[in-house]
Point group: D2
Chain length 291, copies 4
């Protein structure tokens, strides 16, 4: 049993608002931990983008899980894994959950869309899977978990697909009764209106999670007031690194030397600190390594 | 045949100074291409650090090559792969080179150290492999390449190991005669003195490559004057991204909202531009995809 | 370009009947080559069964392709890869085909079923994908191939799904016009009646492939007479190895020694011959390996 | 905690002679379990041969572990993993052991040879690693295990390398004191003389394991009498499958039909039984899967 599973449960369902910060590889997971966050969102968009791929299940599910395993090993924080639509049917979901438990991931989020998924922000795709079928996936996931407290978050894409708040609520209630430990309600509107309405009407025993990427200018207090349990900052480490890499690459390209670049980057020692090279040196002595 | 192999050959051996910019995943490879660089250095340190691992062959060679395959697919630039000491003996090198040719990598750099390697900057390890054995690896690599112009760069670690410039030169000449297409001469001193001395004494027909990470404040002109062919900017995208992620994570942690973070990150649209989401939308129509 | 692609084209479309023998890992591919067959069927059922998995896309597509890469490296024969329904939509098919070309696979077979697939023999699943959508996949595959002669075989599951011979013929013609290089017509009946009827009515310019696993007692001559181009012996190496392993394991378990087992197994030298250990010994000398 | 770890401990150290049967993929693991064996030897030679590779660390360690994970998932038996020389130094061993614990492997066997290894039967390589360095690896392995009862078997290659029984005994004692849970003493002689001598002289508290591949005609009773705890039947499933595949391939090639082959193979139903296709059908109903 990995204690991180219980820690994530507390974050998702505890009395106070909690935050999950995006990471997309072992290194960003270490940065999130160093910064003091309590949990990590292993973003599907960020992981695929870091591979140079689109958010459309272009990488295989085992390739994604290999990244997540590096992340799990790199940090002591609990990780909520963004698993898109579950990479197939209920049977694929069962295999997924077993493997996530094995590699120390504390929870999985699956959404009520088809496979392969299309990114919620770039498509007008409005196909949602049938409620009964998705409830079957949720049940299969809960039956498959080898850790009894593993966290399954069901993501409702109804608002993304242009459906009503009422349909979103119906789906949320059904998914919760099928066994989901929390509901992620997603929206791509620029304002939080729909989300706040949803939260007010949602039965209070259902823990809610949101991702305010498109309605980022809503004060956090408003989410707290309607009882949102968890906010995911979904892709900011990825987007910060893109901006920084574009800038430093441009300057080095233009200058043809490193003088101006040097102050834009962390010292090399920071790399060695994050990866704990020191432990390796000590261990070499402890274990008689003569190399 | 991948035309990038010839392009890298031209960069390594052509009349003018060329530059390779570090990348460590598909996304950074795309950033390097967008910025206008002509070639990419797939840094072993950066790739392992991005996995959260130390620069000590902690990831398997196939895990590293999977990252390189994503990089190769993400860009049209030639990639020089940092392959440490070759992940084993001559036979492991043969398998490595065949697979690199297959995934569209334009060249490999192997260094005269043992397996597993220790990072040149963090260790006082001074074990170099025997010259004859390393020449055997070079010959094995050249015999194994399936593209006749594949580029093998032999990295001389003699100066790192505290050996003399003369030993470094002897090794360089031997490696070149064994078949290496270029020699990477490495140093961890704060000044370029040894490197410049090496370059002046090295037979002019041997193409030289350097990585001025520790002696970064030497003007590029000085390298040009001694006939260096290629400069590698070895880990700046990694280190820029660390600095940026630490900053944005800290601010979001402190502020508990995204208002201040928003200007520190690339817009979401930049992610979709880099990964070319648009092509997918067009293709859906072309191929009758109804989802 | 891999010459095996053209060899498979000749087998699929040439004037005389050709045979593909199943293999499911590098070793069985070597056995097939040693026996004198001209081509290999990389069976999805056999590969998943050898992993201990069901024929239901339980392994990821990259895990399957890793096995196929070992197979490609183990033999000089052309390999036709059984790719089930293509592991997703047209976009997943595009990525699949590019990677197959890269690893030296000569052709792919995709079938008109949904993802994840269900095995044709164990299910009564009768969902076929829409003809237009499947034609889109075929076009996407042909546009994605990096070798201009790569072979795409479209597998018609209409008879398996209980549809009429006429629907099977309509699908075959549509798939061929969309770009398929050959049509695999499948049946799970105990007699070849439907298959022979289909073959007689099918336009003669469409090269046909069959898998007579369930109607195995039909004389090959009958298939030749109706113009079938290629017969796949689909899972006999797998099933022979199961029978042999069950027998030898039982005897060793019962006897508690190896005396009776010894004659049931190939000598250890056969293992070393198949994997060519001798070349490694010679290469050690050639490349100055001192270990 | 996986109860298989304790089961293997009991097999290795319990009062009666125990047997481990070789498997090399998920399917053969299932066959071993079906036959009634109590434990599995995941043979390095067999796994690499099944990939079409030589027993010389040609596959990466993560590729080997992926096979072992399929094996672990395919059976409820404890698995002792043949890990060659540990795929590198003490640090690589640490990573290896952590991952083996994670995937449900009950024990690892590492041998006192260099990386990459050469097969004990095909080489005259006589390089053994220094005793202190190998003891360091053993300590590192024991410190790294996340299951307190994980089984580490240290394999002594002294007799293979032509050293004396006394050196073999010295190494065995040192390795046991460094933390090894059992000692595998290996020999490639045609008679068991050296092995029996070793066993008689070895301190009785050290549990011994042997692999009588080359001295297969020695009656098991003799091993029992000198107190051997565990016998590994190391490659018989692999070699049985080679013989069977060669035979069935030859017959199908010659006959051009399946009539004679049919009786040489397990029925297709046996494949479906071994992989438990039935459970999938039942689960489809339970989880509302409409496909």
């Amino acid at each position: 049993m990995d204690s991180r599973v219980q820690t994530l449960r507390n974050l998702l369902t505890g009395p106070r608002l909690s935050f999950l910060m995006e990471a997309h590889h072992g290194l960003s997971a270490k940065v999130v931990e160093k910064t003091g966050f309590e949990g990590i969102w292993a973003s599907g968009l960020s992981i695929s983008a870091s591979m140079g791929l689109r958010d459309a299940n272009e990488a295989s599910w085992t390739q994604v899980l290999e990244v997540m395993e590096f992340m799990s090993d790199a940090t002591s924080l609990p990780i909520l894994a963004d698993c898109d639509s579950g990479y197939g049917n209920f049977n694929n979901v069962r295999r997924l959950i077993k493997k996530l438990c094995r590699i120390g991931i504390a929870g999985a989020c699956i959404e009520d869309k088809i496979f392969p998924k299309a990114n919620s922000f770039v498509t007008s795709q409005n196909i949602l899977v049938d409620v009964d079928e998705f409830c079957g996936k949720i049940k299969a996931a809960k039956d498959a978990q080898t850790d009894p407290t593993f966290n399954l978050v069901a993501r409702v894409e109804a608002l993304i697909a242009g459906r009503s708040v009422q349909e979103a609520l119906d789906r949320a209630v059904n998914y919760f009764h099928a066994g989901a430990d929390a509901i992620l309600i997603h929206s791509k509107k620029n304002t939080a209106e729909q989300i706040l309405e949803f939260a007010k009407q949602c039965p209070p025993q259902i823990p809610l999670v949101i991702i305010p990427t498109s309605y980022y200018n809503t004060p956090t207090k408003q989410f707290e007031e309607v009882g949102i349990k968890t906010i995911i900052w979904a892709n900011y480490n990825l987007r910060a690194s893109i901006k920084a890499m574009e800038k430093v690459s441009e300057i080095i390209k233009r200058e043809r030397d490193l003088l101006k670049a040097e102050e834009m980057v962390s010292p090399l020692e920071e790399v060695f600190l994050l990866t704990n090279e020191k432990e390796l040196d000590l261990a070499k002595k402890r274990y008689n390594d003569q190399s």
